[in-house]
Subunit: 204 residues, 2 copies
DNA sequence: CGTTTTCTATCACGACTGTGACATAAACAT
DNA sequence: ATGTTTATGTCACAGTCGTGATAGAAAACG
């Protein structure tokens, strides 16, 4: 029997409002009142589903991380093993895969913008520090899986795996950072070209 | 005859307070009142030397950009031309040079933290958007000078200069970003190792 | 000296913020 | 039906903010 309202759905709806606000006007513009207005709700309703502002923020950040993680996981399942591919095919496939993390369209741009805002805010906000840590480790772990796979195909010396993972993670974050903040300096096409070039050079 | 107070020195003193606050507690914690307290001044004094909050912010960001630029320029003058160096020496020299941009000690960490805060804030704050644009173009121009010099020594194909500049700029920003936000995931030593590895691979 | 400019300090105002408290209403349970 | 949980809405409070206005002290000037 259905409840009057689906609380989980409501919480997701509110989190969406947070993300829209944060992407458009920055985290600074996210308050309980602005979130309620953006979600078309009363501030009392927002407070009914969350313990307070911190809870809202945590949930919104948690949702974003989970969404990106799930999308990457889904993509990962349809990846063909490196051993079946030529170097060019491998570069293409990895580029397309990692491009999920780059702000190459409106949706991914909003996502990346929000993540940058959250990660920077977490530097001085212990309330979300653990989520930021998880997110940044996640990027590194993802990069590490890729360099690991390359090493298994003898495309990379085993002792370079850790360092190349850090390099790839830094490149991904740097591209995302620059393209989110200054798309006119680092365009979508340049992001993609740089990523492909990097992966190609790794596979040489 | 000396004035009662040196206004330029006062403005610099206030800007320092802004930078300390922004580095320690984030840009969110920077208000006229907190800045005055951090500078050991009355809020009225701060307002005497600046038109308002925006003016303070602009001046603080301007100061930071100018300081980094001046330091790089000073370093640049003592660089030996690439033609006189072996590949290893060139990699060492460029690593040391570009390390000025990385948060490898307390001073550079504070600087990089503040810059990240400012750049992110500028995404939704038109008041400092031009300074952010200048800063991010600056990194790219710097990277471009390096890849240009490499191409002149036939270490890089001419058509790769622009793309490799973007790649180097993204790597620098990514390393800075990651090390500022999560030094326990991307340590100082790893920053340096990754940068050196990247430059070495470019010089091959 | 007096006058003027520079500097410091304080108050008040309106606009925000998160949150505690509470009233109302709607859906559900018994 | 009554009672109970769930949900929405409203008010008030203390805190913060930037800023306009103003006053008083201190230094510089004539």
């Amino acid at each position: 029997m259905p409840k009057q309202v689906d609380s989980e759905q409501r919480r997701a709806h509110i989190a969406d409002a947070v993300l829209r606000l944060a992407a458009r006007d920055g985290l600074q513009a996210v308050s309980l009142r602005s979130v309620a207005a953006e979600a078309g709700l009363n501030i009392g309703s927002v407070r009914h589903y969350f313990d307070g502002q911190r809870d809202v923020m945590r949930f919104a950040m948690r949702s974003t991380i989970d969404r990106v993680t799930a999308r990457l996981e889904r993509r990962r399942e349809s990846l063909r093993p490196l051993s079946e591919l030529t170097r060019d095919e491998a570069a293409d496939q990895l580029t397309e895969f990692l491009a999920e993390l780059l702000p190459l369209d409106a949706a991914r741009r909003a996502e990346a913008s929000v993540l940058v805002e959250f990660l920077v805010a977490a530097r001085v906000d212990q309330e979300i520090a653990d989520l930021a840590h998880e997110a940044m480790r996640g990027t590194l772990v993802l990069a590490r899986r890729i360099t690991d796979a390359m090493a298994r195909q003898d495309l990379l010396p085993a002792e370079a795996v850790a360092l190349e993972a850090q390099r790839l993670a830094a490149l991904l974050d740097g591209l995302s950072f620059r393209s989110v903040l200054q798309p006119e300096v680092t365009s979508e096409q340049e992001c993609l070209d740089v990523l492909r070039a990097h992966l190609t050079s790794l596979l040489r």
